[in-house]
């Protein structure tokens, strides 16, 4: 099924949350993050979405980077969550849970409270 603009916008909105969650337990590098997201089907985002987002999260101090030598060539730039990033993840998770519940209720009840 071809991806719609709606799916693309929806993914864009939740991608930040998903990347923060992926990096909560362990640090990872760009290529690995892109390929991991690709395994989640609709969450598969292009490099030109993921890499700029990673940079922005770093600029916002939600992520920090460190270099590790790579057998593939240039050093890998690993991203990991900062304390600020952990707080951002917790906040986004709460917002997402509330939103998902609200949408589900709306879909089930058809707007009848």
């Amino acid at each position: 099924m071809p991806e719609t603009e709606w799916t693309s916008q929806l993914r864009r909105g939740v991608l930040e949350l998903c990347i923060l969650r992926l990096l909560r337990d362990q640090a990872s590098y760009g290529y690995e993050i892109v390929t991991t997201l690709a395994t989640f089907g609709p969450l598969a985002a292009g490099e030109n979405t993921v890499y700029p987002l990673l940079r922005r999260l770093k600029a916002d101090k939600h992520l920090e980077t460190f270099s590790v030598e790579s057998p593939a060539g240039p050093p890998r730039q690993y991203y990991r969550l900062t304390t600020l990033g952990q707080a951002r993840l917790a906040s986004l998770q709460t917002e997402w849970t509330d939103m998902a519940r609200a949408v589900e209720r709306c879909l089930n009840d058809g707007g009848v409270p």
Partner: protein, 185 residues
Amino acid sequence: MSQEDPMVAQYVTRLQNALRRYSVPESAEIVADVRSHIAEALNYGQPLGAVMTTLGPADTLARAYAVELLMHEPKDARIEALLRFLKIMGFVIAGSFLSMIVAVTLGGFGLSFLLAGMILIVAGGLEALGVHLAHVHTGGLPPLVTIALGPVALAVGWGFCWLLWLYVRMAARALRKALPGKTKA
């Protein structure tokens, strides 16, 4: 270090130019990320053509970075920019008044003493030769003393001018420091 594929080198150059055109910060780190991505993908057995296709055109990628990094500028960065602007304005306003007073005082004293020194030397010299200038009064000082006072006045005048020069240099340095720095190419 192995030779970079011409296709990758060309892509990186285009990306660097586009990042510069969009004034995207940390372009060196972004380029390193992209180089690393390409190397990793090739290492995982993806063909170069496919890797470059999924990356998309260099200009599109640079624009995506610009949108993320420039349009989602954190609030504290905007506050920092405002504070920098207010600092420059404060500096210009306060500096203008101070500069007016300092320049007038030091410049006025400096030029006056330099002029007085020259007049003293000329007047003293003429007095010694027996020529009396109308409207020039040496206060009854002997001509040689008048001549000797000339260099002293010149030195004092030069001192004031030197202080003015030091002030101008200091003000220019402070202004350069207050203005936003140039971004690295």
